[in-house]
């Protein structure tokens, strides 16, 4: 389509203004995190004299929680993909009975409120000794990751031509070898997308961190921020610095893996 360049430029300017409005809270969070302790509002609209005191306090108070979140999120990625990838392959290519039932079940999981899961898990974890454990959080956080990864990976694997899989079978490769050396390498992109989102789901989890931990031995950063708000509201620069640190994975992933984020957003819903 041919357009007058000036009109395109106007659209770009409008687009930048819209984005600036939408992302203002993100800017404000960064601005507040760079103000000296006390009331950041007196620091004004711009961090003219950036002060890293907030970050020093945040790392001192929340460093351990950041590590906890990282361990739990990576654990959830490994666990979710280990379960979802074989299942997605079976649902896409194997004549397993009851496929529709499994798929229906996966869809139903989206409707189950987290609080219903937390209610039951708290009691079960209490008996099993899984409260206040990284393993308990990995398993609970994967309730978001596993169904999502199954949906994404299955819709991708359905696009792998049957002939490729059959060829491997004819060459004498077993199911497992076909899956490992043919299907998985072909699905790298979808696996990355699924991994990014399972990571973000677990990293962002607040509900399970709140309900399935009772002490501060295992405390994800999201809960750390929540307790920070209650503890000292005059330390907004430290709270906001923690918020910035907690946002870093999302921002980094968006910048380096734009394509995957867009793919994940759309395939999770409509396909």
């Amino acid at each position: 389509m041919k357009r007058a360049p000036s009109r395109g430029l106007v659209s770009t300017i409008v687009g930048i203004v819209l984005l600036a409005v939408m992302l203002f809270p993100v800017y404000w969070m960064v601005n507040a995190s760079l103000q000296p302790a006390g009331n950041p509002l007196r620091g004004g609209w711009f961090p003219l004299h950036p002060d890293l005191g907030g970050y020093a306090t945040a790392l001192r108070d929340q460093g351990r929680n950041l590590v906890t979140s990282l361990v739990v999120a990576l654990g959830s990625v490994a666990f979710s993909l280990a379960l979802a990838a074989p299942a997605a392959y079976a649902l896409a290519h194997l004549p397993v009975r009851g496929i529709n039932l499994v798929l229906f079940g996966v869809l139903i999981t989206q409707m189950v409120p987290g609080i219903a899961v937390a209610n039951a898990l708290y009691n079960a974890y209490n008996d099993l000794g899984l409260l206040n454990s990284s393993l308990g959080l990995v398993l609970a956080d994967s309730t978001a990751g596993v169904p999502f990864a199954i949906i994404i990976l299955r819709s991708f694997m359905q696009g792998i031509p049957r002939e490729i899989i059959e060829a491997a079978r004819v060459d004498g490769a077993g199911r497992l070898r076909t899956f490992r050396s043919v299907v998985l390498p072909l699905s790298t992109n979808a696996l990355i997308t699924a991994a990014l989102f399972t990571f973000l789901f677990a990293w962002s989890d607040f509900l399970f961190a709140l309900t399935l931990t009772t002490t501060d031995t295992v405390r994800p950063i999201t809960l750390g921020i929540y307790e920070y708000i209650g503890a000292h509201t005059n330390q907004w620069n430290a709270i906001m610095a923690t918020a910035v640190l907690a946002s870093a994975p999302a921002a980094v992933l968006l910048v380096i893996a734009q394509r995957h984020v867009a793919a994940g957003a759309t395939s999770g819903a409509v396909k």
Partner: protein, 318 residues
């Protein structure tokens, strides 16, 4: 294995081997197929199936703080349900849930659609701006909630400061501490969180509309409004259905955002079914009633689930 005492001719041996391999394959084939799916299904049953059943059982039991030491949770019949349904808070929480969901969905959808239509035009940097727009959706809700809580602070928040600087008001609006303002504030924040998701999905739907239809509409002398009414909207309908129902299903169970921003207050102004369920279970340790409340929420969600599946089928047919 039979022991072989005499040498067997080669052919015989090979035939035996083949038969054995075939028998092995017949046995292992279905088993190996199941191996792929069993771990995931087991997990889903344990972490979704079990909680659903357990919540039903719990909702008919009387839980107290001592239950966790003694394990005694006597059967209580329908008592939990009658208690939560007859409480003064229930109609209010139900209404708040409906208002919160309807308000959030309306705002997210309208703004999301407007942005999707805007980004449909090709212009420099369009793609980059569109993907940066996803940031609010990817941020942990605790981060968004905390930031907005700080921005909406009555005395020190930037929103009131801006309004004061523009001389639009003389004293600050109590966004999070006024009973009539708090729900509006929480809805606005949730709209902000949900806009990117709506934009992405609707933009994807717009991309699937064939360009020649717009060209045909133009030839028929249709203006922008007419083209939207007769081309865009009808063809986008299946995607719109999906976005709306998914939006309802996700919004109806929102819990963390409200807990972080207002904690259900002030004076229960932002209590929803989800926050009530959380408080009953984890603040009052009335797990029976908390479970009953979350079952009411599950029931409402399930009704929408079926609508959702119908919408998906329609989206697939087109």
């Amino acid at each position: 294995m039979r022991s072989r005492s005499r040498p067997v001719p080669d052919e015989d041996e090979a035939a035996h081997g083949r038969a054995r391999a075939a028998a092995r394959a017949r046995f292992w084939e279905p088993v190996s197929q199941w191996m792929f799916i069993v771990p995931a299904v087991t997990y889903l049953l344990l972490f979704f199936g079990y909680p659903i059943v357990k919540n039903v059982v719990m909702s008919f039991q009387q839980y107290t703080t001592t239950t966790f030491y003694t394990g005694a949770a006597p059967f209580a019949g329908l008592q939990n349900y009658t208690k939560i349904l007859s409480s003064d808070l229930f109609p209010k929480a139900l209404l708040t849930t409906v208002l919160f969901t309807a308000g959030s969905i309306a705002g997210q959808f309208v703004v999301g659609l407007a942005l999707a239509l805007f980004f449909q035009r090709r212009f420099p940097l369009g793609g980059v701006l569109r993907s940066l727009l996803l940031l609010p959706w990817l941020l942990p809700l605790v981060v968004s909630g905390t930031t907005w809580r700080w921005m909406l602070d009555t005395d020190d928040g930037v929103v009131n400061k801006a309004l004061r600087d523009l001389h639009l008001l003389s004293s600050g609006i109590p966004w999070l501490t006024g009973t009539s303002q708090a729900l509006v504030a929480v809805i606005l924040i949730n709209i902000w969180v949900g806009i990117p998701f709506n934009t992405v999905i609707l933009y994807g739907g717009l991309q699937d509309i064939p360009v020649h239809l717009y060209e045909a509409a133009k030839l028929d002398g249709a203006g922008a409004v007419a083209a939207f009414r007769h081309v865009t909207w009808p063809l986008l309908r299946p995607v719109v259905d999906v976005v709306l129902v998914l939006g309802v299903v996700y919004t109806i169970k929102v819990l963390d955002l409200i807990l972080i921003v207002t904690g259900g207050g002030p004076a229960d102004a932002t209590e929803t079914l989800a926050t009530r369920s959380y408080e009953l279970s984890f603040q009052q340790f009335e797990f029976g009633r908390g479970a009953a409340m979350s079952n009411v929420l599950v029931a409402v969600s399930l009704i929408f689930a079926f609508v959702h599946l119908r919408a998906r089928r329609r989206a697939r047919r087109t």
